[in-house]
Symmetry: D2
């Protein structure tokens, strides 16, 4: 991939926003590799994402931030914006429990060069996924979450928070972690903690969604990648997908079919998050 800067920007819509941003970039000689715009008619909010070839600008990312910040403020005092540099390698910490399918999938994508990130660490509630993690040259931290022991769990979360804090990753991925994050961690990791829920939300919130789906007799099951918020399974949705099931599928068949959807949905959501394609606005997302 060429070296690029990614600008994301949002503010209340008015005439002249695109002109202001594109004129700024054009006057600096910036070549736009990719650009997307959206105005939400319900909220009247304007969103854009622009990808600029780094080498086309006569200044570095710090000066781009200074200059673009001034443009953003001139457009609106309510502007929300961010400039990221693809030259800065993305770091990810993955949290797992016993089920390894999402972890295997993510590690395979990284090893195959398909997902260009550093997995800084994997944290596991149980030991068995340590071997594959270490085989990929990635540190594995075993942090047990004792059942029915609130203090023990709080201590475990503090340990996880310390590990995540040490690596300061661009994404914390709950890859079938199976523990409900406490409100303080939801806040601390806001906008960068991604969960994969094994249902097509808002159907089948909570525990054992595939069992719920089987009992209801649905003809499709799905998975949802969403940002983690204090409200369980209700965070802004990044991506969803479904697969067909039939009367002949037992719960274990549904689990198996659903796993393929979980893996793909999580991988897509994570990629889009790391490429700064996902802009959150209230409880909804814009995915450019």
């Amino acid at each position: 991939m060429p070296h690029q800067y990614v600008i994301t920007f949002g503010c209340p819509d008015r005439s002249g926003i695109v002109a202001a941003i594109s004129t700024f970039l054009a006057e600096a000689g910036g070549m736009i590799a990719e650009a997307a715009y959206h105005t939400d008619p319900d909220t009247g909010w304007f969103f854009t994402r622009q990808v600029v070839t780094a080498g086309s600008l006569p200044f570095d990312v710090h000066e781009l931030r200074d200059r673009f910040g001034a443009v953003a403020r001139s457009i609106s005092p309510e502007s929300e914006w961010r400039v990221t540099d693809t030259g800065e390698r993305r770091r990810v910490v993955i949290l797992v429990s016993k089920d390894g399918h999402c972890l295997y999938d993510l590690l395979g994508r990284v090893a195959a060069g398909e997902l260009d990130v550093d997995v800084s660490a994997v944290v596991g509630n149980h030991r068995p996924l340590g071997d594959i993690t270490r085989a990929h040259g990635i540190p594995f931290h075993h942090v047990p979450f004792p059942k029915g022991d609130p203090e023990g769990k709080a201590a475990a979360f503090a340990e996880v928070a310390a590990i995540v804090g040490f690596h300061d990753p661009h994404a914390v991925v709950l890859a079938r972690f199976m523990q409900v994050l406490p409100a303080d961690l939801c806040a601390a990791w806001a906008g960068r903690a991604l969960n994969i829920h094994h249902s097509f939300l808002p159907s089948f919130v909570g525990a054992r969604p595939y069992h719920q789906a089987h009992a209801r007799g649905v003809k499709l099951v799905g998975a949802t990648c969403h940002y983690v918020t204090a409200d369980l399974d209700a965070g802004p949705i990044i991506e969803q997908d479904v697969t067909r099931v039939a009367h002949g599928d037992s719960v274990s068949d549904i689990v198996r079919k659903g796993r393929d959807i979980e893996k793909i949905t999580l991988a897509r959501g994570l990629r889009w998050h790391l490429e700064n394609r996902v802009l959150v606005h209230g409880t909804r997302t814009v995915v450019f």
Copy 2:
């Protein structure tokens, strides 16, 4: 289509059921054009659907019913079975309100020879869909449902019940009818009233599901064809499908995209119902 008899059968599973049925058919010389079997491991219930070429049997459908009934009873006193004759033309009554997309679609399929049924009548809460109905040579009954007038509604339902009763159809199709059936009609039409709900159930039960979907920010919307029961939007699901939506889709875009899914899902569900492919067991369906 060749003339066929369709046998559906269910009972508690045990060894020898298939042998008993297939031996009965083989001894009568019956050629099986299609056969499907399923055992539900949760309930231990066995289901089968067999399609026999009518001309291969030395007796008519009445004698087939007599003979097969004896076989069924010998297999299990709990047997539930049915023998239908494809030589008997299927009749359908369609209930509509203002939105015509499902009606246009069904009438088009019938006219194109794709859905081989007689539409005996269309009943509309409003007048505008009368013209297209009559253009297809089908009687249209305008039965208004006065808002906020329980007695008027009860009288309207009685009129609809009379029309349906007169035609005694194989299926009553609620093609975006938008009125909640009273419990007595749910009972009277049990197992032959099909509704199309414009969401991927159990998500977004009730009113304005596309608005609910937009507000939640889901990335796919769907439709569900189900049997009508007294429990709103909770009847056994026959078929579901979904289509992708994105942040750029307004509610009216979602409505438009969803309609294509509604039409297809309803048409599939209706076809399967009329071909006796759908066996209901509790709140779930087997679709052979």
Copy 3:
């Protein structure tokens, strides 16, 4: 829908194009309702589509064309651009043969208010689709194409060309027309003649694609909506979709399942074409 102007524009990519266009629009006070950009890395060609609220500009569509034309020429002498006015109602002529499923679908969409166009005329190689066409209040022209009679066919095409020429429609839709257009009509209708081919092109070019698909044993069949060019079934693809088939599906089952995909794919392609979302570049399309 609000009154809007749709600008489509393409030229060799260079820095400053977006700035030039958006500054022009901003200085005129134009509110951009929708905007999309794409640069093709293979050809180095830049594409954009901008939707401007008509009422936000202080001039009419003619002056917008004059002014935007000057901007376009100043950006590049190779610019290709178009400004269309959603206030001008779209006209469509539909060509059919015997199979009515696509015609029924399009007429139903128009009647249901889902596809906001005038169907100026339907031209049929056979008579049976005349009734439904006239029931929708649309003129039907029966123009027979005599088999094995090249002169008769040429005369028939001349008649079709005269009908189309009279209405000068925004789209000529070959809705399972089954006749190969002569080169002069391909040229005359270039960029506005849409065909629906009942396969997932480039698989199964030519006659009886569903039979070909069945013989090959594929597990999915599809449909392709494309612009008609002199090279049969090789025109730029606007939209494609597929549906699953299985070993139990006979050719007639595949035909039936495929029809749903044909209808939806054609309807999507036609909508996008009429909304000027489709930009052709060589043998490929950009669909904004």
Copy 4:
């Protein structure tokens, strides 16, 4: 999984086949866990697959083969049948080149307990996939295929054949192996060599299918899992799937999106093959 016997059977259709098979099983007390039937109307060939709970029969798999063989011969001298024992662990040999995505996926599925097989060996044309293979405790054989050296290639194939011959696996999986099998290996491995081709066959046969797809401007790309035959990319298709691409997708985006489809399609096809769900008849498959 419970211990089961899987019976597959095919012969020219006639009345009484199901009765003969099911009576044989019923008289032995066999509980049928799963049964499927199909008659191909084109060839008049009957197919069935029956899964019997091993413990319900009073004899072992050898005697089941003897007894069922007699039944099969009594039904038709042209009968083709097979009885397999799920108690016999399935063995797989995987052939790879440089691209590891399918290998990572398969190894992850095996490690996660999702695909219950022994991977006896992985054979690689290049070295890099050796590490991950060994990390899973599986032997890796590096067998280079020298470019432009027919004798060297023949020697390499002989070495691969020896490795495969030693393990005598139930499936030889060409997981993006990129070498065309010689006719003698196609023959030796007939019916158990599975390839994943990265296109929706019959589109884009041969080299660089994603590049071909991009050049043609298709709106969906796919993958095909098929049995390897001497006729390149023309073997019986087991499974296919597709994913949507758009004008903004470069060839490398298409490659990435396509890989997810390759992995899933190969995994599905391999599972069905190993469960004896795939019956080949001519150039087509029945997948029960």
